[in-house]
C-alpha cells in the first residue's frame, strides 16, 4: 500500500470520530435547549495567548499520562491505575524533594527518579498480583487508585502543614525549581520548563517500542500472546516490566507542575489526569505522535470550554461529553478503518498474485 494512502487512512479515523462527536455534542445541546452556534463560536475561536500556554501545559501532562497508559495498551495490559500511580509518585516526590538531600538541580534529577520509582512500585503491586495470582490488572489498578487517594490523603496529614483551606507538603527548595518559559509577553502563565520531559518521554517511547528488542517483545505480546510465548517471550516477565515502565512514566506526570508552579504536593492536586490519559492514548492509537495529537485536542477542548459559561451561557461540563463521545467514536472508527485496510491489502495481494508471480522453483 502506498505511504500516502496509509497516512490518509490513519488520519481518517480520528477525523471521522471528531466530526461525529461534534454532531452528537450539538444534538445534546439542542436537546437541552442550548444554542449550538454559540457553543461552536466559543469553542472554535482562536485561543488567547494565555490559553495557548495553558493548552500546551495541559497537553504535556496529558501526553505523559497517555504514554503511561499506552505502554500497557501496546501489550494488551489495561493499566487503569495511572491516576493512582501519579498521585503516589507526586506525593512521594514532593516529600523527597522538600527534604533537600541533594543540592540544586541534583535534587531535581533525583526527585524525578524517585517519582518514577514510586510510580513503578505502585504499578508493580498490580503486576505482581497479575503474574503470581492471576488477578486482572484492570481490577487491581482500579482498587489501587482508591487506595492511593486515601493513602496519600492520610500521609499528607502526617507530613503536611495547613495552608489556608488545604494541606500541603513542605516547599521544594528554590534552587531546584525549573522556571517557566515565557512564550508571550501578555500572558500571565508561562510554559512549564519541564515540557521537554514530555518530549523526551515521547521520543524514548518511540525508540523503545520500534527499535529495541524489548519493544519488539512487548508489541509481539500485545499482538498475540500465544505467538509471543512460542517465540520465547517470557510473558510474565514482560507483564512486570511493562507495568513498571508504565508506572514509572505515570510518575513523571506530576513533575512539570511540581517543579514549575506548585513546588509542593497539596490536597488540591489536579485529579482525573490518569483517566484522561487513557482516553488520549486511545485517541492517539497508542502511537507517540497520535497521543501528542490526542493530548493537544483534549487540552484544547478543556481550555476552550472554560469561558463557555460566561460567553455562551453553557455549562463547560458539556465538553466532557464531547471528549467521551470522541473516545467512543474513535474506537469504532479505528475498527472500521482497520477492516477496510485489511480488505484493501487483501485485494492488493490478490492483484499482485494474479500478475505472473516469481517462477516456481523447487530447491531439491
Amino acid at each position: 500500500m502506498k505511504t500516502l494512502q496509509r497516512a490518509g487512512l490513519a488520519l481518517a479515523a480520528p477525523v471521522l470520530a471528531l466530526v461525529v462527536a461534534g454532531i452528537i455534542t450539538s444534538l445534546v445541546l439542542v436537546a437541552a435547549g442550548d444554542d449550538p452556534a454559540a457553543f461552536w463560536e466559543t469553542m472554535l475561536a482562536w485561543p488567547e495567548n494565555r490559553s495557548l500556554v495553558n493548552i500546551i501545559n495541559e497537553a504535556s501532562v496529558l501526553y505523559l499520562s497517555g504514554l503511561a497508559a499506552a505502554i500497557g495498551f501496546r501489550m494488551n495490559l489495561f493499566n487503569i491505575g495511572v491516576e493512582g500511580q501519579y498521585r503516589v509518585a507526586t506525593f512521594v516526590a514532593a516529600y523527597f524533594a522538600a527534604q533537600a538531600f541533594l543540592p540544586g538541580y541534583l535534587n531535581t534529577v533525583a526527585t524525578i527518579l524517585v517519582a518514577m520509582l514510586a510510580g513503578a512500585a505502585w504499578a508493580g503491586i498490580a503486576a505482581l498480583l497479575r503474574v503470581t495470582r492471576g488477578v486482572s490488572e484492570v481490577i487491581s489498578t482500579i482498587m489501587l487508585n482508591a487506595i492511593a487517594v486515601s493513602l496519600v490523603a492520610y500521609l499528607l496529614r502526617k507530613v503536611g502543614s495547613r495552608e489556608g483551606q488545604t494541606i500541603v507538603t513542605d516547599t521544594v527548595p528554590q534552587s531546584g525549581w525549573i522556571p517557566g518559559i515565557s512564550l508571550f509577553r501578555d500572558s500571565v502563565t508561562d510554559m512549564y520548563g519541564l515540557v521537554f520531559l514530555a518530549v523526551l518521554a515521547g521520543i524514548g517511547f518511540s525508540v523503545l517500542l520500534n527499535r529495541t528488542r524489548f519493544g519488539f517483545d512487548l508489541r509481539a505480546t500485545g499482538h498475540s500472546e500465544s505467538a509471543a510465548v512460542a517465540s520465547g517471550v517470557d510473558v510474565k516477565r514482560m507483564v512486570i516490566y511493562s507495568m513498571l515502565l508504565s508506572g514509572a512514566v505515570a510518575g513523571l506526570i506530576g513533575m512539570p507542575n511540581l517543579f514549575g508552579v506548585s513546588h509542593n504536593y497539596g490536597s488540591t492536586i489536579q485529579t482525573g489526569i490518569g483517566f484522561a490519559g487513557i482516553a488520549v492514548a486511545l485517541l492517539g492509537r497508542n502511537h507517540p505522535l497520535g497521543i501528542a495529537a490526542g493530548a493537544l485536542i483534549f487540552a484544547y477542548l478543556s481550555e476552550q470550554a472554560n469561558p463557555l459559561g460566561i460567553l455562551a451561557g453553557i455549562s463547560p461540563e458539556i465538553i466532557a461529553v464531547t471528549q467521551g463521545v470522541v473516545v467512543l467514536c474513535v474506537v469504532i472508527a479505528y475498527e472500521v478503518v482497520r477492516r477496510y485496510r485489511n480488505k484493501l491489502e487483501q485485494r492488493a495481494v490478490a492483484e499482485a498474485l494474479e500478475a505472473p508471480g516469481p517462477s516456481k522453483e523447487v530447491t531439491a
Binding site: 500500500m1 520500534n210 527499535r211 529495541t212 528488542r213 524489548f214 519493544g215 519488539f216 517483545d217 508489541r219 509481539a220 499482538h223 498475540s224 500465544s226 505467538a227 510465548v229 512460542a230 517465540s231 520465547g232 517471550v233 517470557d234 485489511n342 480488505k343 491489502e345 487483501q346 485485494r347 492488493a348 495481494v349 490478490a350 492483484e351 499482485a352 498474485l353 508471480g357 516469481p358 516456481k360 522453483e361 523447487v362 530447491t363 531439491a364
Partner: protein
Amino acid sequence: MTDTTTTAAAAVSVRGVGKRFPGVVANHDVTLEVRPGTVHALVGENGAGKSTLMKILYGVQKPDEGEILVGGETVHFSSPSDAIKHGIGMVFQHFQLADNLTVLENVVLGAEKLHGIGDAARTEIRRISDAYGFGLDPDELVEDLGVGERQRVEILKVLYRGAKIIILDEPTAVLVPQEVDALFENLRELKSQGNTLLFISHKLDEVRAIADDITVLRRGTTVTSVKPAEVTQHQLAELMVGEELPSPSTAESTVTDREVLEVRDLQVDDTQGRTVLSDINLTIHAGEVLGIAGVEGNGQTELVEAVVGMVRPTRGVVELSDQDVTSWGTRQRRESGVGYIPEDRHRHGLLLDAPLWENRILGHQTRKPSVKGGWVDKAGARIDAQRIVHEYDVRTPGIDTTARALSGGNQQKFIVGREMSGDPKLLIASHPTRGVDVGAQAAIWDHIREARRRGLAVLLISADLDELIGLSDSLKVILRGRIVADYDPQTVTPQQLGAAMTGAKTAGEEA
C-alpha cells in the same frame, strides 16, 4: 447411465458461477451438475476455490455471476437459512458443537421451532439416528463422544433441519482410517435413502472409494467431471495439480549416531493436575526424522510444548546435544538451535497484523540477522525476510504486507523458511504441510529433507499418515499421552498405524 439421469432434474446444478473475492481465490465459470441420490466429490488442492464454492452453495457468499439451480429451480440464497429452506445442509470440518450439552440439546439448538425441545425432538432424533444407523443417544453429553460420533451428530443436525442435500467439508480430515470406513458406511446409507451428498476432499483414495462422480477444481474453476472408475488416482491427482505429483518419501538414510534430542521419562500434567503425557522416552539423532503418529489430542501438543519449553514437565528430562535443558525457557532453547513450526500457525506462528519482515524477527528476537545487541536490525530483518520470500516461494506483493493478508499456504511457507533460518539443530515440525497446496507441500518436504541431509534432527508430528511414513526414519505412535508402539516406516502400512492410533491393536477398544 448419463443419458437416463440427466433427464431428471439435477439435485444441484451450478452454471457459470463466478465470485470476485478480494484476497484468496476467486471462482470463475464454475459449472457442476450433482445428480440426485449420489455422492458427488469435489476435489482440488487448497486454494483451488472449493471453500468459496461451498460458501456460495450454502448461502454464506453471493455469487457475482452465473446461476444455481436446486431441483431444477433457480435459487438466490442470501443466508444459510435460505439454503436450509431449499434442503441444503452443511457439515463443517470443525465441529460446531457445545461439549457441555447433550446430543439432543445440540441438535435442537437454533431449530427449536421444528419439534420443540422435548420428547418430540427426542423421538425425531432417535428416528433419524436409527434410519441411518448412527447409533446416537439423544441424552448423551457431546463431551463424552468420540470424533466419529461427533461428526454423526453434525450430520444429524442437518438432517433434522430437513436437508436432503448435504455438503460435507473435508469430513475425513479429523478421522483415523477405521472411522473413515464407518463414515463411508453412513454416507452410503444416506445415499441409498435418496439423499444427495456433496463431498469435499483432497484425499483421492477416499474420493475414489465413495464418490459416484468427481468434479475437479483448479485455480478457481471446474476443470472436468469424471467417474471414479474411469480415472486412476494418479490421473486424478494430475488433473488437480496440473503437474507431476510429489511424493514425501526420503531416499537414503542420513541418520547419524549423534544424539540431538533426548527425552527421558517425561511427564506433563495439565493445569487441573491431570496427567496428559507420561513415560515418554525418545531420542532423535542428527539427520534423523522421528515421526509421531496419533489421533489429535492424545498428547502431541503437550509433547511439542514440553520440548519447545512452553510447558514445564512434572517429571523427566529433556536434553539437547547431551545438555540438560529441562529448566530452560523457550527463548534459551530456541537460541541453542531449536526451530519450531507450530501446529496452529495463527496462534503460535505469526503476528497476523504485523508485516512479514517483523514476523521474520519473531522467534529470533535475540539472533542475527534480525537483531544486533538489544536493538532490532530492521535492515537485516528485511533482507532476510526477502530471502525467505524468494527461497520458499512465498506469494506476496512484498515484505511490508501483513501476514494476515497471505493465504494459509503462503503463511506456512514463510514460517518454514523462518524456522529453517540460522541452521537449527533440531526442528520441531507440527503438521508442517497442513493446509498448504500440493506444490508448496512438495517444496516444504524438500526443504526438510535437504536440512536433514545436512544433519538436522526433526521431530515430526502429523495427521497425514503418508507424510509421516514418507518422511520419517522412525515412527512412534502416541495414544492417551503414552508412546504405545514403534514402527519402521519402511514396512508399516497406514492401516497398521491407524489401528495402533486408536488402540485397536493394544487394547481392542475404540478411542
